[in-house]
């Protein structure tokens, strides 16, 4: 009956090995994850924390990884050789120049997210030792590893005396709100999405939001944010409050948004690219030159879709547009 055993794609064991060893699926070190916050003087202790979950940091490596995955396909031997010696990060050394550029982009998003919170007078801390939520482990059916990771994450929060968690990515928010309570005892932290925090603060503050030049944008709702967390109006409220910004809705919006394809990028990388290309065409049809999203994986995958289709549209994160608008269009790095 041995032949009835299913095969599992090599990416799964890499993700699980790396998470167990490094606390995140790509094998990033604590320094890799936390360096964006250097010189920002963010307190490392407090009731409220900004949780990045290392997701924006990991995104920098994904494009390179995908290139590797496309070449090796389902060659387990290739992966297992690397798995025992190095992590995913080392695998991407061949693509150092790409990674460097990407890291600048995503570290910048992280810096802007923190600066924006500061400008809006929101007190928050950042735990340098924060761990990845384990969302990917759960999504790929690696429940045993996920359970362990979730417990570690919860312990880190408890030890730091955290009460309130601002999650930067929808995947973290969703996994904390919908899945953690089933795997971890008394996971009773207040979870709030970055976009909700910003929306509230913008409403309460009298700071004007404006862009230096008129800009037509469209909005790509991340699946988990829109459907699972039902957060669809908050980003629109903020965008509509920005002077000089015009929002043109893509046909499939809000809860009917279409997935960018990123979720399968480590299993079926080419399929992820084709799905992104399709979504980019839809976004470009609005006539907007900029598409805004609120998830690092959407951002990276859709950016790949832009390259593939050659469409004249740029993908930016909600973090960036808000940061720019708060500066009156003069900042943003």
């Amino acid at each position: 009956m041995g032949s009835t055993k299913p095969y599992i794609p090599p990416a799964l064991s890499l993700i699980s090995t790396n998470t167990v060893r490094s606390g995140n699926p790509l094998g990033l070190t604590i320094q890799d994850c936390a360096s964006w916050a250097n010189n920002l003087q963010i307190p490392n202790k407090g009731d409220t924390i900004l949780y990045t979950g290392c997701e924006y940091q990991m995104t920098s490596y994904i494009q390179s990884l995908r290139n590797i995955l496309k070449k090796v396909k389902f060659q387990d031997s290739f992966f297992s050789a690397f798995q025992h010696i190095q992590g995913f990060v080392d695998l991407t050394k061949a693509y150092t120049h790409i990674v460097k550029k990407q890291r600048e982009t995503y570290d910048n998003f992280l810096r802007m997210s923190a600066l924006t919170l500061m400008r809006l007078n929101i007190d928050f801390a950042y735990l340098e030792g924060e761990l990845y939520s384990g969302a990917l482990l759960y999504e790929y059916g690696l429940f045993e590893e996920f359970q362990k990771q979730a417990q570690l994450v919860a312990d880190v929060f408890k030890q730091a005396g955290v009460k309130r968690i601002i999650t930067l990515s929808p995947h973290s928010a969703e996994i904390f709100l919908k899945v953690y309570p089933k795997f971890v005892d008394s996971f009773d932290f207040e979870i709030i999405t970055y976009v909700s925090v910003i929306t509230d603060a913008v409403k309460k503050s009298n700071r004007a939001l404006s862009l230096a030049e008129p800009l037509i944008v469209t909005l790509h709702d991340p699946c988990h944010l829109a459907r699972s967390l039902n957060v669809t109006e908050e980003p629109r409220e903020v965008l509509q409050a920005i002077k000089n910004l015009v929002l043109k809705e893509v046909a499939s919006n809000r809860r009917l948004t279409v997935c960018c394809g990123a979720p399968c990028e480590l299993i079926y990388p080419e399929l992820a690219e084709l799905a992104a290309a399709k979504r980019v065409r839809e976004l470009a049809e609005t006539g907007a030159k900029v598409a805004i999203t609120l998830c690092p994986f959407c951002h990276a995958n859709l950016t790949g879709g832009v390259r593939l289709t050659g469409k004249d549209i740029r993908i930016i994160d909600f973090i960036e547009i808000v940061c720019q608008a708060l500066e009156g269009g003069n900042a943003g790095g």
Binding site: Y7, L256, Y268
Partner: protein, 403 residues
């Protein structure tokens, strides 16, 4: 497990090939726009369908809880009606029953049947040296293409009319233009020449009432009306999850199904409870009047009762096969039914393939295709959370692979 790995590689090759075929995404995007509009209109005219769908969800929860009891009750009612009833534990059992009823050298006409596709019905009947024709236009096209159906409601939705023209020109040996009306006319003419001489008609059904033994079959093309009425033998093949407690319940299931498939009302609603009969001569019951002489009903288990006992995955059995989820699925929009296995597609299809059609091993590549984006759950009339089911299935796959 080189064989299990080869399944992944083969599947992904096909999936990528279909995703790279622009005709597929083009044809689906046209179909999608029309279908969305049709469905919106149908629900606008009958807004109470949304509430009815919730009721049907509860109904399905209840039915899946007591499959044995309902199938027993339905069998008794059918026997009382003069129907020959069979219970097939496996696909092979079902095929053997069909083989016994049909024999060989017959002309067999089939209505689009997902359950038939699940067990490889066409291939089996043809191998017994019978002539077998699909009578649903889309399914007929797929038969000529030697390809499996690609969607529950629209089996050939990924084929453009230009491709259909080439296919039919080749088959009929005369020029068939790339226009749907002319293409349908040619198929109609061909099928009409078959109906009067056919020996057996095979159909599935959308729901079967346990109290009266009535099968409800939704259709628009008129093919089912003819093939369930004209040939002397009618066979109904259905999965046991299709049984509803009462005729009234079965009707609710059917109504939600057609409304969410985009119809205010289908052209025809066939309700079949018995072979034709008359008592007009001295009030003596004679089976077989103008309609069929025999009606055979085959209940197919094929893993369903096992699935029904799984506390999480049993939800997959609530599926009405309306095809909503497929239309809105980002993978399906690129690849059509290549995202799926035998007869069952998409994320929910992974569950059906794992427990019913194939095996965990064959379902694994399908399960890992799902984006878990939730667009299927968003529009499913009976709120099946396929993301949750796929995630749990992946866990089962991982556990089994590691055991």
């Amino acid at each position: 497990m080189p064989e299990a790995k080869a399944l992944f590689e083969k599947y992904y090759d096909k999936l990528l090939q279909s995703a790279g075929n622009d005709n597929i995404s083009l044809a689906i995007s046209w179909a999608l726009d029309i279908w969305r509009e049709k469905k919106a209109k149908a629900l606008e005219r009958f807004p109470e369908t949304v509430e009815l769908a919730k009721e049907v969800r509860h109904l399905k929860e209840d039915c899946v809880q007591r499959l044995d009891e309902l199938v027993h009750q339905a069998s008794e009612a059918l026997k009382e009606n003069g129907v020959q009833v069979y219970y097939a534990k496996t696909a092979d059992d079902a095929l053997a029953i069909v083989g016994k009823i049909i024999g060989s050298g017959k002309v067999v006409l089939a209505a689009k049947t997902i359950t038939g596709e699940e067990i490889g019905l066409r291939q089996y009947v043809e191998n017994l040296r019978n002539e077998y024709w699909e009578t649903d236009v889309g399914e007929f096209i797929q038969q000529l293409r030697k390809e499996k159906p690609m969607h529950y409601g629209l089996p050939a939705l990924h084929v453009t009319r230009k491709e259909v023209a080439r296919l039919l020109t080749n088959f009929f040996g005369r020029e068939i233009p790339p226009e749907a009306p002319a293409q349908v006319a040619a198929i109609r003419q061909f099928l009409r020449s078959k109906y009067s001489t056919a020996d057996v008609g095979i159909s599935g059904c959308n729901a079967l009432a346990a109290d009266t033994g009535s099968a409800i079959i939704i259709e628009n093309e008129g093919n089912i009306r003819i093939l369930t009425g004209m040939p002397p033998v009618h066979i109904i093949l259905l999965g046991i999850e299709k049984v509803a407690p009462t005729l009234h319940d079965a009707f609710k299931v059917a109504e939600v199904t057609w409304r969410y498939a985009g119809f205010t009302m289908p052209a025809y609603l066939n309700i079949v409870s018995a072979p034709s009969s008359t008592s007009d001569i001295e009030f003596n019951l004679v089976r077989g009047a103008s309609g069929p002489l025999e009606l055979h009903v085959i209940f197919l288990d094929n893993g369903r009762s096992t699935l029904a006992k799984d506390p999480i995955q049993k939800e997959a059995l609530y599926c009405l096969k309306c095809g909503n989820c497929l239309f809105e699925c980002p993978v399906f929009q690129l690849t059509a039914g290549y995202y799926g296995g035998h007869g069952h597609f998409g994320g929910i299809g992974a569950i059906w393939n794992a427990y019913i059609t194939s095996s965990l091993k064959e379902a694994a590549p399908i399960a890992y295709t799902c984006f878990r984006c939730g667009s299927c759950a968003e529009i499913c009339p009976v709120s099946i959370d396929a993301c949750k089911l796929v995630t749990e299935l992946r866990h089962t796959i991982v556990r089994t692979a590691r055991s």
